[in-house]
């Protein structure tokens, strides 16, 4: 079983939402800026709860923020 790949478009969505800063997003969902950076670089996959909270900020369904891309070989 390979590593699961989940991509996200948080960075693009932040800019679409009035150039929201990483710190502003972090404050709104209750995480640190470091975690936002890790999420945007796809170095960390959030819990389901955090994923829903982020999607709620952008008022989008979860799958428009996070996309399942399959597994690595």
């Amino acid at each position: 079983m390979g590593k699961v790949i989940i991509k996200n478009c948080i960075r693009e969505l932040r800019f679409k939402k009035g150039e929201m800063t990483q710190q502003a997003l972090a404050d709104r969902v209750g995480i640190t800026r470091q975690t936002v950076i890790a999420l945007e670089k796809n170095k960390y996959y959030p819990s389901l709860e955090l994923a829903f909270r982020i999607a709620q900020i952008f008022t989008l369904p979860l799958e428009e923020v996070f996309q399942y891309e399959g597994e690595t070989e």
Binding site: G30, I31, T32, R33, Q34, T35, I37, A38, K41, K43, Y44, P46, S47, L50
Partner: protein, 165 residues
């Protein structure tokens, strides 16, 4: 560098600095630990208090909200992973120490019996010199300190990996 990572760095360097000096002394003279242990703990507490005060003053988040930044799920995951690794290290140290003590004590008894011209030595008469007992205790404590270093080291490595890729 985030607040939690800076705290981990402070703990790692503080423990390494204070307890390297502490063990360098007590491994040479195992009985000279009483005052030294208290001093090491006090120095450790002062170092961490100074660092955390400076860290808090310099932290943007604390200046803004007055509170330390909350630990989020990523911080907790990093801490759990570090605790798991250091727990394994501590377990290995304790088991190794027990095995060495179980086999080491009879070896010392035989050595003592030989020193007493091969006299019959019952287990009730056998006594390990205080310095040797204290040395063994210091070794066990060193294992505990090492596990702590591994804990904070793992946290620092995890944050560095996230930052550098």
């Amino acid at each position: 560098m985030g607040f939690q990572e800076k705290s981990a760095w402070a703990c790692l360097l503080g423990i390494a600095l204070v307890f390297t000096v502490y063990f360098a002394i007590v491994f040479r003279s195992p009985t000279a630990f009483v005052g030294l242990f208290v001093l090491a703990v006090i120095v450790q507490v002062i170092l961490l208090a100074v660092f955390h005060t400076v860290n808090a003053i310099m932290s943007h988040s604390i200046r803004k909200t007055g509170d330390a930044p909350p630990r989020d799920e990523l911080d907790r995951m990093i801490e759990l992973r570090a605790a798991k690794i250091s727990g394994v290290i501590l377990g290995m140290v304790v088991i190794s120490w027990c095995i060495i003590a179980m086999f080491g004590a009879p070896v010392q008894e035989i050595a003592l019996a030989k020193a007493l011209d091969g006299a019959e030595l019952s287990t009730t008469q056998f006594a390990i010199p205080l310095a040797n007992v204290l040395l063994a205790v210091h070794m066990l404590f060193a294992g505990f300190v090492m596990a702590n270093l591994v804990y904070y080291g793992s946290i620092v490595v995890s944050y560095r990996k996230l930052a550098n890729g």
